[in-house]
């Protein structure tokens, strides 16, 4: 029983509310498949059959129950196989249990057939108890059906009042911000000279190819006389781009970087082992 039947599609769509009153009594011939849809799975069907033995659940005859169940399922199979998968799994298990109960005892067998039967009985008792508890719950005097709260309560209201706070400085500041924000302004977007990462990469790769010795990163920058040297902003941009380009080349295995101390000069050379790879 521990192996729960696989997800039974039969129950996926079960409506949580009863949309319709219980359907009209079915004719005998196809009673079973109609009822199958009304059962909440094999355990529920077993519980119903057990209840029909009209004895305490603790004293039901498991063998009799198995026979009744198998009898039902034989007819169900003929009717609507696809709905009955879970019921069939249970039927197979019950048939197995029945054979174990009837055959001579195998003392080695774990768990014993009696244990399996007892567990089934315990499960039925528990489901039965909850089914009954649910029915008793539903039969209570229920608020909104049998007993009623006040129909037109005035309602309790809590009004929240705000005491607003601000001081003169806030006011001045706010006015200043408004005036400053809406003062006519002319925006001139200056063109800034930058060295792009791509051009730094190209420049660095080209210069690195020329020598195998360690060289200071600064020596790769545009030198006096080259275009852009005059512009300090461009020099800063070139330094930043060259630094990033150096990191990128190192990452690609094309260059080696060394720095002897924190904030010390960054030195750079072509990766020794990589010459071939670079060429390739």
């Amino acid at each position: 029983m521990d192996a729960a039947p696989p997800a039974p599609s039969l129950f996926e769509g079960d409506e949580a509310w009863d949309a319709l009153p219980a359907s009209a009594p079915a004719r005998d011939g196809d009673a079973l498949h109609l009822e199958l849809e009304n059962w909440e799975g094999p355990l529920d069907l077993l519980l119903d059959l057990a209840r029909r033995q009209k004895v305490d659940l603790r004293t039901i005859s498991i063998l009799e129950l198995v026979d009744q169940y198998l009898g039902y399922i034989e007819r169900a199979e003929a009717l609507r196989l696809e709905l009955a998968a879970d019921y069939l799994v249970m039927a197979a298990w019950l048939a197995y249990l029945k054979s174990l109960l009837l055959l001579p005892r195998d003392p080695e067998m774990q768990p014993s057939p009696e244990e399996l039967a007892l567990r089934l009985q315990l499960r039925l008792q528990r489901l039965g108890a909850m089914r009954e508890a649910g029915a008793r719950l539903m039969a209570r005097d229920r608020l909104g059906r049998d007993v009623f709260a006040r129909g037109a309560p005035e309602g309790l209201r809590v009004d929240r009042r705000h005491r607003w706070q601000a001081d003169l400085f806030d006011l001045m500041q706010a006015y200043g911000v408004v005036k400053a924000r809406t003062a006519p302004v002319v925006h001139i977007v200056r063109e800034r000279a930058v060295m792009t990462l791509d051009s730094a990469l190209a420049r660095l790769s080209a210069l690195l190819g020329a020598s195998l010795d360690w060289q200071d990163l600064h020596s790769f920058l545009p030198s006096r006389g080259e275009a852009g040297w005059e512009d300090p902003a461009l020099r800063r941009s070139a330094l930043a781009s060259s630094f990033v380009a150096a990191l990128e080349l190192a990452k690609q295995g094309k260059a080696e970087i060394a720095q002897d101390e924190t904030f010390g000069p960054l030195r750079l050379r072509r990766a020794t082992g990589a010459a071939g790879a670079v060429a390739a």
């Binding site: 079960d14 949580a16 509310w17 529920d44 567990r119 315990l122 009623f148």
Partner: protein, 201 residues
């Protein structure tokens, strides 16, 4: 009716006017911090036997019509549609075993519980998510609400019909525990491990 004192009148008026059940703390806060328990008990006594009574449900108080007048007042409205068997059983299992995970509900019912079933119970306001069980998979666990108690006229879960008998008979224990008990207990530790439950919500 003997005229109530000022505090009892105020509590009476507050509960009458409120559109939902109130805890003593809420009433007290509404009335500027007065101690209201004694007044609640006095009011409950005042109304005993009348057509309207004062009841406590899960720590919240409200007035409602007397149960024995149900035959005069009963209405079958949209709100009180019949729950399906699946939902009724799931609700009973949650109420009697709470907090429980969906897997535990399914273990008792022997079938999968459609997602919609728990949704309906939560939408009705009767069931809430009560955190997660601290076991592998950290399954969501469910419990009932004070609206559940109010709807079914229960002061607390101890009032659930037959809960004492069910507990005494071991019918609220897992099958493994019951089995171990019946067979001499050599399997006694097969049952549920002691678990930490996260009741944070």
């Amino acid at each position: 009716m003997t005229p109530p004192d000022d505090l009892a009148r105020a509590v009476e008026a507050t509960l009458f006017a409120s559109d939902r059940p109130l805890t003593p703390e809420e009433i007290s806060r509404h009335l500027g911090g007065a101690a209201v328990r004694a007044a609640l008990v006095a009011l409950q006594r005042d109304y005993a036997g009348r057509g309207v009574e004062l009841v406590e449900r899960g720590g919240r108080w409200h007035f409602q019509t007397a149960g024995d007048l149900a035959h005069l007042l009963r209405r079958e409205t949209e709100d009180v549609r019949r729950l399906s068997r699946a939902a009724t059983e799931a609700l009973a299992i949650i109420a009697y075993h709470e907090p429980v995970s969906r897997a535990e509900i399914e273990a008792i019912r022997g079938v999968q519980t459609a997602k919609g079933t728990l949704d309906v119970l939560m939408e009705a306001g009767w069931v809430r998510v009560a955190g997660r069980r601290e076991v592998p998979g950290r399954p969501t666990i469910y419990a009932t609400t004070s609206e559940f108690l109010a709807h079914f006229g229960l002061s607390s879960r101890r009032d659930l019909p037959g809960i004492d008998e069910l507990r005494a008979a071991g019918l609220l224990d897992p099958v493994d525990d019951a089995y171990a008990l019946l067979t001499g207990g050599e399997d006694g530790d097969r049952g549920r491990e002691p678990e930490k439950e996260d009741e944070s919500s």
